[in-house]
């Protein structure tokens, strides 16, 4: 990707899925590449199992920390339907990367709303270029429910023209800083690889 173009990525999902950590790692990677980077999200009330969105923008010079509607290159949806809330943000050439994992909102559980039966179809009807992946299942196979975010970052990394070594370095730095055990470090590394090679 040429450095003069802006890159806009919107990550969305449910509070507690590790979205803020994913956007943090992504921002560090983009900064390492040499871009000006801004990212924005809302803390507080939104974290208690509510919808969460994080905007990440990179380019030669970035002003607004929020992505303009119609200009997102990617929506990385951590949950099956969350991405559908933000389709207006996608640019005509943009891609929706969708984790097929369903997290049922309370409004559905108590019968005040319905969970869409076929999210894939909704995306298709709106001509959205969609890639679906069952990251929760991959995470389970790897032995940790918590690495869904790293798998999805791996999928995203596939489409960004960024030297994979930068990703590996930033991930490793993060795991070192968090003092993760060797076992967990290995699971996270494989999670990224699984996403990247999916």
């Amino acid at each position: 990707m040429a450095k003069k173009n802006n890159i806009n990525i919107l990550i969305c999902g449910v509070g507690g899925q590790g979205i803020l950590l994913a956007s943090e790692i992504l921002s560090e990677v983009l900064m390492k590449v040499g871009y000006d980077v801004k990212k924005s999200e809302i803390h507080g009330m939104a974290q208690r199992g509510g919808s969460v969105e994080s905007h990440i923008r990179a380019g030669k010079k970035v002003y607004s920390p929020l992505i303009k509607k119609g200009e997102a290159d990617f929506i990385l949806s951590f949950e099956s339907i969350e991405g559908l809330r933000y389709l207006e943000y996608l640019s005509p050439k943009g891609k929706l990367i969708r984790n097929t994992q369903k997290i049922i909102p309370l409004t559905v559980t108590i019968g005040n709303a319905e969970y869409p039966k076929n999210p894939e179809k909704i995306a298709k009807q709106n001509d959205i270029d969609t890639i679906s992946i069952n990251a929760a299942e991959i995470a389970r196979q790897l032995g940790s429910d918590k690495v869904v975010n790293i798998i999805l970052l791996g999928v995203l990394a596939k489409f960004l023209d960024i030297d994979k070594k930068i990703w590996d370095d930033i991930l490793l730095n993060w795991m070192k800083a968090k003092k993760l055990s060797q076992k967990i470090t290995k699971i996270n590394s494989s999670a990224f690889e699984k996403g990247f090679n999916s």
Binding site: V14, G15, S27, E28, M31, D36, V37, K38, K39, S40, E41, I42, H43, G44, M45, A46, Q47, R48, G49, G50, S51, V62, Y63, S64, P65, L66, K68, K69, G70, E71, I81, E82, L84, R85, L87, E88, Y89, P92, I104, P105, L106, T107, V108, T109, I110, N112, A113, E114, Y115, P116, I122, N126, D145
Partner: protein, 582 residues
């Protein structure tokens, strides 16, 4: 060195670099992370959580009088609590530099109103400074202290959620050593009795004039002269949106946003053909600029409510929509909810069953007002649950027994509930009050408070004993009922007993927030025995995000979310929820 920092992280860095010695705050979104980040510099900056914003600011005023640079941090509504000392401090001025950070919340992501606190600067006649990204957040804090000392004034430093919680790249600087001036008795300056205050007010007016002149060429106000067709006066985050929509326009970006630099604005207005004022929330600049007789376009086109973004600025000022409209109908709303394992769930389920009127307060437990628990019926401000409950009872005086329960968290009770309880006792109320004690300030991200026995800097300290405190306020021993927050039966019995009394009672539901439990805690795990489950949906009524309905309408527990609090087990009439090995 360059780092990617949020506005809050950058401000914390600025506080360190400015040589600040004392910082005090009460947590409040979106300001909380400022002191949480200052604490990494605790060798250089003493920092603390105060019981509330008024206490925080008064300590900071003292520290300034004591000769060091001092800062108080709060969310916008926190400044309402601290307004009393703010207005006195405006007359007293500074000794060591003194800055008050107000973190305003356009769009009210986690707040009860969207007041624009620039009005406080104007009302208190003190300068207001506003950054537009993280770099400025750091640099302007340092400038704010210089202005405070140069002009003998407190400075209001206004941020908004989008500045606080957005990250951008910051070039770090070096720490400045600022020696303490010490405290010197100065009756005319520090004692605001009327005779002194009259003289001080005259000084304040002179100070404002000087500050306005200073704004003419100070570095906080930035002039970008480009195309003369369009000129824009803007501030804060709105500047970033203006740059996206009008890349070629001439821009006057105000960083010192009160007093406004009138001469600079007049000169700028003469240079451009059309002048826009792009500011979030109130027409603060707009009204002042219009009063100068300058023609501008502002709130006649731009909204007065909620946050801006690039689309809003573009659509309202240029009448241009540059995206494909896609409306996906009937997506289920996903509001925040009480977490699985939350100690507030069982008390709220009980209050829901009892069908009483519940006056609520500010904290996680406000979420108990949402369906299916629907057990909060008023929410006003910090501490108001007890006062409102008492007032409702007074209004329904004929037979109020058993009708009203006030619920308040432990941190909120210490913040401003104690005086409310004293009032209930003093004025012979009969309130039933429930202190939901989860042993932390939860909603803002788990901060210590006087009831936790730990300080912001990680030190052990005296732990405020809520039970002794409530007793000392005058609640009778037999009407003071600590209960296990997870035991539905016990909670129901105690509520029924206390609601039947015509004396004030305090029930304390005790159970820690799941986030402060030890990392290695062995959480229990439950699952639904689908043979026994009769699909009665009763367990769905406790509003636990870990429980949902399967295709055959039977309940199902998501093992990723379940923390084994057992509330669902206690409500299930068919014993179909069983413990399994994690």
């Amino acid at each position: 060195m360059k780092k990617l920092l949020s506005g809050n992280e950058a401000v914390a860095r600025g506080i360190y670099e400015a040589g600040v010695k004392f910082a005090s705050a009460y947590p409040g979104t979106p300001s909380t992370e400022i002191l949480e980040n200052v604490v990494q510099y605790k060798k250089d900056v003493y920092c603390e959580w105060a019981p509330n914003e008024k206490v925080a600011l008064e300590a900071v005023i003292g520290a300034s009088m004591g000769g060091v640079r001092a800062i108080s941090v709060m969310k916008h509504v926190g400044l309402n609590v601290a307004a009393d000392p703010l207005f006195s401090m405006a007359y007293i001025g500074s000794n060591g530099g003194i800055v008050i950070i107000t973190a305003d919340e356009p769009s009210m992501h986690s707040s009860q109103n969207e007041q624009d606190n620039r009005h406080y600067a104007r009302a208190a006649k003190i300068p207001c400074i506003e950054p537009s990204d993280s770099q400025e957040a750091k640099d302007f804090i340092i400038a704010a202290f210089e202005i405070s000392e140069k002009f003998d004034t407190p400075v209001l430093f206004r941020m908004t959620t989008r500045i606080c919680h957005s990250k951008s790249i910051v070039e770090l600087g070096k720490k400045k050593e600022v020696p303490s001036k010490g405290f010197t008795k100065n009756f005319q300056k520090y004692v605001v009795l009327p005779a002194n205050a009259r003289k001080l007010h005259l000084k304040v007016e002179e100070r404002l004039k000087k500050l306005e002149k200073y704004g003419y060429n100070c570095l906080l106000n930035k002039l970008e002269i480009n195309d003369s067709k369009i000129g824009i006066i803007t501030n804060g985050i709105a500047y970033q949106y203006a740059k996206e929509v009008f890349p070629d326009a001439s821009i006057l970006k105000l960083g010192l946003t009160f007093p406004i630099p009138k001469k600079l604005i007049s000169e700028f207005a003469k240079k451009v053909k059309t002048l826009y004022v792009i500011e979030e929330l109130e027409p603060f600049f707009e009204e002042q600029i219009k009063a100068m007789g300058i023609k501008i376009i502002g709130k006649d086109k731009l909204p007065i409510t909620f946050e801006f973004n690039t689309n809003i600025v573009e659509e309202n000022l240029l009448n241009r929509k540059s995206y494909r409209e896609i409306e996906v109908k009937n997506l289920p709303p996903r509001p925040p909810a009480l977490c699985p394992g939350c100690p507030h769930r069982a008390p709220f389920y009980t209050l829901h069953k009892l069908d009483v009127n519940v006056t609520g307060d500010i904290g996680c437990y406000t979420l108990g007002g949402l369906p299916p628990l629907s057990a909060i019926h008023t929410c006003v401000c910090m501490g108001a649950s007890i006062g409102c409950g008492y007032g409702i009872e007074k209004a329904m005086e004929q037979n109020p027994t058993g009708k009203v329960v006030a619920v308040i968290g432990d941190s909120t009770f210490v913040h401003s509930g104690i005086t409310e309880l004293i009032n209930v006792i003093y004025n012979k109320g009969i309130s039933t009050i429930c202190i939901m004690d989860n042993s932390i300030t939860a909603m803002t991200g788990h901060q210590e408070h006087p009831g936790t026995g730990k300080t912001l800097m990680g030190e052990q300290t005296h732990k405020l004993d809520l039970i002794e405190l409530v007793k000392a306020c005058g609640v009778k021993k037999e009407n003071l009922r600590p209960v296990n927050a997870f035991d539905l039966k016990e909670i129901m019995t105690v509520f029924k007993e206390e609601l039947a009394k015509s004396e004030p009672s305090v029930i304390i539901t005790q159970g820690p927030c799941i986030f402060i439990e030890p990392k290695n805690k062995k959480w229990k795990l439950f699952e639904i025995d689908s043979e026994k489950c009769k699909a009665c949906s009763i367990c769905l009524q406790i509003g636990c995000p870990a429980i949902s309905k399967s295709d055959d309408n039977k309940a199902v527990i998501d093992p990723i979310f379940c923390l084994g609090c057992t509330v669902c087990v206690q409500v299930c009439p068919f014993d179909s929820i069983i413990e399994i090995k994690r």
